[in-house]
């Protein structure tokens, strides 16, 4: 019954983690990618060039000095062995042509354009809006679904409260990976893009999945109608699902780690954020959601008595 005994420690630990995460996000901040704020991203490759790739500073000067382009800010990051990622404001098609032509430095460095992406600011804000709306919609749908699925176990804790607890723990599961991502982006320059939002949404999905498995066990044990207290039932149900929870986390991490190590470049950060989120998702299903449920029931009892 260690969950009952240490419930306050577990809850405090989670609250502390969330607080630290919020502070992390505040300090390091999240860099929005061009998906959200608009801009252009050009990926080029100099592997056909006999003299390797030119110095980034050389390219930067060249780009900034071309008056017709009028680009004041350009960020050039090396990728792979011979490539660069070039980030600028969003470019029209003629501007893109001008920039591409510039990069071979008058033919001295033959260059291959691997990808180009230019997003107008309005498209970016539209995307941000859609992302926020989908997260909110998913959260509400989950509350409603849990309220419905657990309607038969409204005693002693009303079924919608399971939903609310799920959402509170979901915030925990999302804020922590976001903070780790903020830390990561501070050092590697990773940006918040659609895939990051997708990772958060997937964490939402997987983590609700876990919570439902634990709650389902509570529901079943409550229905059995033993004389045990609610706290005991929750605690037993949680320990009954621990092996399953650990095993399934191992399995999903088993597919995510190869995705991170060997998968496409574009989904690397996605796999990383997801793995972190998954870990905290399982943790919170066992050691945050259950203690919260017990605490909630204790509060209900206290408020009723006097």
């Amino acid at each position: 019954m260690f969950i009952i005994k240490y419930k306050k420690i577990f809850i405090s630990l989670s609250v502390l983690l969330v607080l630290v995460s919020v502070i992390f996000i505040a300090i390091f901040g999240l860099k929005l990618g061009i998906d959200f704020k608009g801009g252009a991203l050009l990926e080029v490759d100099y592997s056909n060039s006999s003299s390797g790739r030119p110095e980034a500073s050389l390219l930067e000067n060249k780009i900034k000095t071309l008056k017709m382009l009028d680009i004041n800010q350009v960020l050039i990051q090396p990728t792979a062995e011979f490539g660069y990622l070039i980030k600028t404001r969003n470019l029209s098609e003629p501007e893109h042509q001008m920039l591409s032509a510039l990069l071979s430095l008058d033919g001295k460095y033959p260059v291959l354009e691997k990808s180009f992406n230019s997003i107008g600011p309005s498209v970016g804000s539209e995307l941000a809006r859609k992302a926020i709306i989908s997260i909110i919609m998913v959260i509400f749908a989950i509350i409603f679904f849990i309220t419905f699925a657990f309607r038969k176990v409204s005693r002693p804790v009303a079924s919608w409260k399971y939903g609310v607890i799920t959402i509170i723990t979901l915030l925990h599961d999302i804020i922590i990976p976001t903070a780790i991502f903020a830390l990561l982006s501070h050092y590697t320059g990773a940006e918040v893009d659609t895939l990051f939002v997708l990772a958060l949404l997937t964490i939402l999905g997987l983590s609700v999945h876990d919570k439902i498995v634990v709650f389902d066990r509570i529901r079943e044990n409550l229905k059995e109608g033993d004389k045990k207290s609610f706290a005991e039932t929750v605690s037993i149900s949680t320990s009954q699902t621990i092996v399953r929870s650990i095993n399934i986390t191992l399995t999903i991490i088993g597919v995510l780690v190869p995705l991170y190590l060997f998968g496409p470049e574009t989904t690397k950060n996605f796999a990383l954020v997801l793995t972190i989120g998954l870990f905290f998702g399982i943790y919170s299903s066992l050691f945050f959601a259950s203690p919260l449920l017990i605490l909630l029931e204790e509060w209900q009892l206290k408020n009723k008595k006097p």
């Binding site: 354009e113 809006r129 919609m137 997937t202 439902i212 498995v213 399953r244 190869p258």
Partner: protein, 461 residues
């Protein structure tokens, strides 16, 4: 018992058939793919732009001049025109979609154009944006002042433009353009057929200008200035500029595809080089295979016999899902493959839930057969509810998401649906077909997990 074995065999045949289908329809896995039955060639995986390479363009349509009730229609007309222009270009499987504005998307009317295989955006943008402007002009009255300029070298340039005046007849009244060849000179020329209004206008113009020139302007420059010999009442005209056959063909196509019903501006562009896409596919496949192997090893080591059955169910799951991707078809993107890999994890979860439950029931003192039964029954509610929530999430994402999120939601949602079938139905059929009723050391070992056999767990309890 026989019945159970028969159904297991049936499932096995069915599953192998699907796996065979997936294998046979994959060009990379078959050496002599070209010589194969045409049926198998019809179902390759459809790869998204990020995997196959190509261009992704988003246009904003200016519908301010269109009445709100007509917006839908004019956007559809716009899509048709753009589609015709894109098809002209010989792009294989282009996708042109209208994205309507609204409260959720918060944007105006947009047109999304995907051009697989086209990495030269300049060309693509030109092809989509150009409307050929066809005009017919007549000679200006003689008293019209002509403008002439003298350039640096002292040459006098006469502006031909001032020699001709506009008429009402334009490409708007064009019914059809066709390519033909002059019977004498073998030169390609473009023959035009006007619609009713155009025919009347053309008859008037030719009647009023017998013996004079009528200039045919294309995109603001005169391409042909024939002299009218007689009135032409049938609405037929011929442009015989000095075209190459290809130019003439392209012009015909452009004229036939018509003008854009509403003006458009390019909002964003994206091109992915083919090599980048290919390496992403290879990396994705590699990651999926390694992930699958890791899961297999874990399941068999930890869950033994049921674990092996879970692996079979998982293989079926993969075959069924891949077949669905081919048949629907689902456009696969990097994010979509991510969704697929995660749903693999979900499929395993259902089995893990069931096996943990089975083990628990056996530990309680049930024999193995009853344990399997009760395990499935008890685990069902949690599998059902947790997967329902995943499906709800994927529906919302599919409904609201951007194309990238949609791709993820679709493969993820389909994966969860299929996994409920494979993890529950298929593994149940196989477990029962084995017909294990006895409890002895061996069967206890087979149904044990982790570091202990089922029997030991009973003893420990």
């Amino acid at each position: 018992m026989r019945h159970k074995i028969a159904s297991a065999l049936l499932v096995l045949i069915f599953g192998s058939g699907i796996a065979f289908f997936v294998y046979k329809t994959e060009p990379k896995l078959n050496k002599n793919f070209e010589t194969q039955n045409a049926f198998f060639k019809k179902f390759p995986f459809r790869l998204g732009l990020d995997l196959s390479g190509g261009s992704h363009l988003i246009y904003k349509a200016d519908v301010s001049a269109v009445e709100s009730s007509e917006v839908g229609n004019s956007m559809d007309a716009l899509r048709d025109v753009i589609e015709r222009r894109v098809n002209l270009f010989g792009v294989s499987e282009p996708v042109v979609q209208v994205q309507h504005g609204g409260i959720i998307s918060g944007s105006g009317e947009q047109l999304i154009v995907d051009l697989p295989g086209i990495t030269d955006i300049k060309q693509a943008v030109e092809m989509i944006g150009q409307t050929p402007i066809l005009e017919f002009k007549t000679e200006a009255p003689n008293d019209t002042p002509q403008t002439a300029t003298v350039d640096k070298d002292g040459k006098v340039n006469l502006d031909i433009g001032s020699q001709f005046v506009k008429t009402e007849l334009t490409g708007r009244y064009l019914k059809k353009a066709t390519l033909e060849f002059d019977q004498n000179t073998r030169e390609p020329r473009v023959s035009l057929q006007f619609d009713d209004t155009g025919t009347k206008l053309f008859a008037q113009i030719t009647k009023a200008n017998i013996g004079k020139m009528v200039a045919i302007y294309l995109d603001g420059t005169p391409v042909s200035t024939p002299v009218v010999r007689e009135e032409i009442p049938n609405g037929q005209a011929v442009i015989s500029g000095s075209f190459t056959p290809n130019e003439a063909k392209l012009l015909v196509g452009r004229l036939n595809s018509g003008a854009l019903p509403v003006p458009i501006t390019l909002l964003s562009t994206q091109t992915i080089g083919a090599t980048l896409g290919e390496s992403a596919v290879n990396a994705g496949v590699k990651a999926a295979i390694i992930g699958f192997l890791l899961v297999t090893i874990f399941l068999i080591l930890w869950y033994r016999l049921p674990g092996l059955i879970a692996v079979i169910a998982l293989s079926f799951y993969t075959a069924i899902l891949l077949a669905i991707f081919k048949l629907l078809p689902v456009t696969l993107t990097a994010a979509g493959i991510g969704g697929f890999i995660i749903s693999l994890g979900m499929a395993v979860d259902a089995n893990v839930l069931i096996f943990e439950r089975m083990k628990e029931e056996i530990r309680k003192g049930y024999n193995i057969s009853d344990g399997i039964h009760t395990g499935f029954k008890r685990a069902w509610t949690s599998v059902r509810d947790s997967n329902t929530s995943s499906i709800i999430t994927s529906i919302i994402l599919f409904w609201l998401g951007t194309p990238l999120i949609k791709g993820f939601a679709l493969t993820f949602g389909l994966g969860v649906l299929v996994s409920m079938f494979s993890a529950i139905t298929i593994s149940r059929i196989f477990l029962f077909a084995l017909g294990i009723n006895k409890n002895n050391n061996f069967t206890s070992f087979l149904f044990g997990s982790g570091f202990s056999s089922a029997k030991n767990m009973t003893n420990n309890k």
